[in-house]
């Protein structure tokens, strides 16, 4: 009997030990995924600790054009790609300051030309392959290769010469710049670190631009971002799954991201995006028009919240065709005499009712603009740029001083005696910009100008602006990618590829364009913020004074998300909502 009890006791204890061992083993297996392995230098975020699990559904207007981070130019592509990629140093979209990413630390030499970056140890790509300095050297080689033709290449050539990248040891990389670079380590933001073990072959076969297209096999697309591609259904959706090797953890030491997957649905229009969100089919809406925002606010039912983040970095503007047309389009070149007249442009600017644009187009959720830097960019805005209100008398005086006159019935006559009439081109699909053009049409009618609005399909319009130059004036918008003026250097330099009003200038066409060139180059190489700010302040003054573009308004950034989405912290820098996707979780 005693013996029996002892045996029974022994058996129970043995079972308990066995279960304990089993539990420890299971926990250990789980820990490999959830927690840092030995020697793995994870980045700890200070966001609220969340719960793992669940998926996120996001609607996107159009599908990506490519999944190749080096070649992607458009937002739809970048929004998807950058959930799967990571950079060395990252600009925090909320604080707008740089923070460590794949590089845990960096030093800059006193002359501002040598950057030494220390990489995180022990971290892996989304296919489990280890990451080291060779991947960094390879990535920069690809980005700077002229044959690859990355749209970001220009940013990596300060002063026109490439950056020299050295591997010092597997976890240290040195960058030698040909000249000091004003924005400093902001340079590394949005340069994706590529897996050399996957892409080197296609790069050597000169097939890099064709790598990672929409029809590539998901397991081939490998990155260091929080998610990896699971499935891509052309024209319908992209499904991303959690990257189990991601290099960030929360304060409890749990590996991020919390979400199991993200689904991007391609829905076609902004309205469809809002309708899906309102119906609860999607969890985040990345950009809401002011009109749709009021619809969402009105019908708010507690399931979602919408936020107005204030002015973004987008500036909408009217500009005239100042290109050298030679013998082409005599009808347009005849009118260029007016467009080149500074007082004509000033009169137009003075006649435009920017407050009305904000009220009617942005539904009060926007800010009038007199310069291309918005109030959203607190760091670089020059508050001294004058903001004259609408003044038709002043506009008439300006026109009179430039030799314009009026007919009996109020029509404006150019100095040469012809009626002032021109067309404003605008992207037909962009309802806010069509409305802006309609308001300008009515404003300029008060000066006696006859304006025709020409809504064109966006690509047809872009073709006229950048290739054929067959247009008179146009309303467009540019959304800066970063607060730093370097992000728009292509717009202001007379040789820049987005110097819209006058492309391919062999040398600066005007004295003020020459001065802008000089100021932009200087601020690009200065490492003192104060000095750079002074230089860029002057650029803003020159633009506001000479009006190559007549700035109109900036809409507020309006976003929405389900109410129970944790750590949702939208920002005014693109990609407004998903920049901290690894921290998002469901409450």
């Amino acid at each position: 009997m005693t013996q029996c009890r002892v045996r029974h006791f022994n058996r129970t204890r043995f079972l308990a030990i066995r279960i304990a061992v089993l539990l420890i083993a299971v926990a250990a297996v789980l820990a490999i995924d959830a927690h840092a392995q030995a020697g793995e230098e994870l980045l700890t975020t200070d966001a609220e600790i969340g719960r793992a699990g669940g998926g996120l559904v996001v609607a996107q207007r159009v599908e990506p054009k490519t999944l190749n981070p080096v070649m992607a130019l458009d937002n739809p592509s970048r929004d998807v790609i950058w959930r799967m990629m990571a950079d060395l140093v990252h600009i925090n979209r909320q604080s707008q300051q740089t923070e460590p990413a794949l590089a845990k630390a960096w030093t800059i030499s006193p002359d501002g030309r040598r950057y030494t970056l220390t990489l995180r140890r022990g971290i892996r790509f989304s296919d489990g392959h280890p990451f080291d300095a060779d991947d960094v050297v390879f990535s920069f080689q690809v980005y700077m290769d002229e044959k690859v033709g990355s749209p970001q290449r220009d940013l990596l050539l300060p002063g026109g010469k490439p950056i020299v990248v050295h591997k010092i040891d597997p976890h240290t990389v040195e960058f030698q710049l040909p000249q000091p670079y004003g924005p400093a380590e902001r340079l590394f933001d949005s340069i994706a670190i590529l897996p050399r073990h996957i892409l080197e072959k296609s790069y050597q076969e000169a097939a890099f631009p064709e790598a990672w297209q929409l029809n590539s096999r998901p397991e081939q697309i490998v990155g260091l971002g929080p998610f990896r591609l699971k499935e891509y259904v052309p024209g319908t959706r992209a499904v991303l799954e959690r990257n189990p090797y991601y290099w960030k953890a929360d304060r409890a030491g749990k590996r991020l991201p919390y979400l199991e997957r993200i689904t991007f649905l391609f829905v076609g229009t902004d309205d469809a995006q809002v309708m899906r969100f309102q119906a609860g089919e999607t969890d985040i809406v990345n950009r809401i028009s002011p009109e749709n925002y009021s619809v969402l606010v009105k019908n708010q039912n507690g399931n979602y919240r919408v936020s107005d983040l204030g002015p973004g970095l987008e500036y909408n503007f009217l500009f005239f065709n100042l290109n050298d047309l030679g013998q082409k389009f005599p009808q347009v070149s005849a009118k260029q005499a007016w467009f080149r007249e500074l007082n004509f442009r000033r009169a137009v600017s003075s006649a435009i009712d920017r407050e009305a644009i904000v009220r009617l187009v942005c539904r009060e959720r926007g800010t009038p603009l007199w310069e291309p830097v918005t109030t959203g960019n607190k760091l670089w805005l020059n508050p001294a740029v004058p903001k004259p209100p609408r003044d038709l008398d002043h506009a008439r005086d300006l026109l009179k001083s430039a030799g314009f006159s009026w007919t009996q019935d109020g029509g404006l006559l150019a100095p040469g005696g012809e009626r002032v009439a021109f067309s404003i081109m605008v992207a037909a699909g962009n309802a806010p910009r069509v409305s802006m053009a309609t308001i300008i049409q009515e404003d300029l009618r008060a000066l006696g100008m006859r304006i025709d609005i020409v809504p064109l399909e966006f690509r047809a319009m872009l073709d006229r602006v950048t290739q054929t130059f067959e247009y008179e004036a146009a309303v467009m918008g540019i959304a800066s990618g970063d607060v730093d003026p370097t992000s728009d250097v292509n717009v202001w330099l007379s040789t820049g590829s987005t110097h819209l009003w006058h492309l391919h200038e062999p040398r600066p066409a005007t004295a003020w364009e020459a001065e802008i060139d000089r100021l932009m180059q200087e601020q690009l190489t200065s490492s003192q913020f104060k000095e750079r700010k002074q230089l860029f302040d002057r650029v803003q003054e020159l633009i506001a004074d000479n009006l190559p573009i007549i700035c109109l308004a900036t809409p507020n950034i309006l976003v929405g998300a389900k109410a129970n989405l944790g750590n949702f912290r939208p920002a005014i820098l693109e990609p407004y909502t998903l920049w901290n996707v690894e921290e998002l979780f469901w409450r």
Partner: protein, 336 residues
Amino acid sequence: MKKLNQFRVAVYSLIAVHLVILLGGFIAPYDYAIQNRKYPFVAPTRIHVIDGLGHFHIRPFIYGLRYRSPEYIEEDEQMYPIRFLIRGSAYKLAGFLPARIHLFGVDEPARIFLLGTDEYGRDQLSRLLPGGQISLLAGLIAAALSIGIGLLFGIVAGYYGRLSDEIVMRLAEVFMVLPWLYLLLAVKGFLPLNVGPAKSFLLVISVIGLVGWARPARLIRGIVLTAKERNYVIAARGFGASDIYILRRHILPQTMAVVLTQATLLVTTYSLSEMTLSFLGLGVSEPVPSWGNMLASLQQYHVLTSYWWMFAPAFPAILVFWGYYTVANTLQEPTP
């Protein structure tokens, strides 16, 4: 009997709608292009006869408006009585008589918007009426153009036959398969950028009208073919009547029934075509209104869900189309 009543109602409502639209400038209180930028998307103005104190007024009045997000509220401190035959913006009565007197209006600074305003604060009623002029005129002119060409070609093909018949009918087949929407897109692509509203209007109607002649031409040809074999036509020819005489005296009257029904059908079809094109942004350009470009703002989700008065142009359009179809139906029926 019921049919006949329907026919009468249709004819009377057509006359009424056309009359109202013809006198649009007089009935509308404002100019169609005037933007009241303080009042975008204002709902139709409420007309009162009893004031805040409960007093009854014989002359109806309105209150001023103030915007308090997210809606407009009436300011009941000041009443604005509705005045009739009031002086206002200049317009041309029935398209040619310059005038300034409007049927009704209110004193400044108040505004009366019987059908609300659009996104620029333009009075919907003051746009609906000239918009109707454009849309209906487009239908009428394009139909006249189509019928005119159709009549000419139909008679030539039917009466002279042989080679001319062969050529005209093959040409008609080509025109019948032309996708006019794409044709118009292509024509627009070739034009210079600054085509004024008047020119773009003419362009739209002429393309619609020119492309549509084939169907009436085929029908008329059929009528002419049978008519020219009638005994009295052969007799007339025997007496030495000229072609012109025979056509005018004996053949044209035969085609009138077809011409009339075709015309009533084509007016609606072509008005609808103009509305479709303007709805898609290919027709009449801003700020000139047409029922099509007024309805275009409904393509936006927020307008569709929030501002019901933006549907206004759809109702007169439905009435007009119903009227024309009823007339056409009755014309097509054999008389008892």
